[in-house]
Symmetry: C2
Subunit: 183 residues, 2 copies
């Protein structure tokens, strides 16, 4: 069976521990979301496919009376995960409308460029802030988390967004300086 990129991400999540589809969604939203999102519309159908392919085993496991289906990797699923992790990464995509607007901003003059840079700066500053919140709340739980490779990606997100925000800020200042010199 051909696995879709997102079904591999799901496999990875189940490699951390057995989980329900709902829990996968919550975990994604609080961890990989900023570089790999997933919606219910993907998660549930993919879990079904993975189950049919024998890569995960799904059992009803109601917690406190509530209906709940827990999925866990089968040995075949573990192997598929291992194989995927061993292969070189392929997907590196970005869709950044703010960069696109900066790119075209000559069309609206200097002001438009500054506004577009500021919008981008604000976005990255906000995202860095959100990731910091996640980071500190996770840090409270245990030291073992700050040792995990998952924590690495969180630190990466913070560092990258800080860098992007600062870069925009510097460019705004540079353009201001140029503007007054030119005038």
């Amino acid at each position: 069976m051909e696995l879709s990129p997102t079904s591999r991400a799901i496999l990875g999540m189940l490699g951390l521990e057995p989980m329900s589809g709902y829990e996968i969604k919550r975990l994604v939203d609080s961890s990989t979301r900023f570089f790999w999102a997933a919606s219910y519309g993907q998660i549930y159908p993919e879990l079904k496919r993975l189950s049919e392919a024998g890569l995960v085993e799904s059992t009803e496991d109601p917690q406190s009376g509530r209906r709940r289906i827990v999925h866990r990797l089968t040995p075949a699923g573990e192997q598929a995960l291992r194989e995927w992790l061993a292969q070189p990464p392929e997907i590196q995509e970005m869709r950044d409308e703010s960069l696109l607007k900066i790119f075209f901003s000559d069309f609206g003059g200097r002001e438009a460029t500054l506004a577009a840079l500021e919008a981008k700066r604000a976005h990255h500053a906000e995202l860095a802030e959100r990731l910091r919140t996640i980071s500190t709340s996770a840090g409270k739980e245990a030291a073992k988390i700050s040792d995990s490779s998952a924590y690495l990606t969180l630190r990466y997100g913070i560092a990258l967004n800080d860098f992007a925000a600062e870069w925009c800020e510097r460019e705004v200042e540079r353009l201001h300086g140029e503007g007054s010199r030119a005038a």
Copy 2:
């Protein structure tokens, strides 16, 4: 008419100057590609839609005997572009399989984390290199280019990818240090 995100990018390209679909594709590939890609499968149908909506005007303009259709913005197209540029950016997406592999790499032990970090580093180093090549070849053409907002995004791409590559390198070193201390 509802414009798709990519048709707005096409509008922006035509705001730079009138162009054929083929030229749009080439320009995208050598400029916005790393943060906004577009394929023929999008460009040609979208140009048709934009033309039907009266936002671009398409005329046959064979250059040196070769069939060629040049598209240019109509006043309505210019306005649509201006309106879009004035609105806050919405799409900021990333799909980074290398980060995903780092995230899950505990599953393969320390070596796997190091390998995933190295793969990511290599990717960013390569991309930075490619962008630098574009940058220097563009710089030769004229000083006016280095003044354009389009050039800003190129510098951003170089700075960001340099930063990402260096971040990975630092983390590899840190993990090595930890490893030997622990051993």
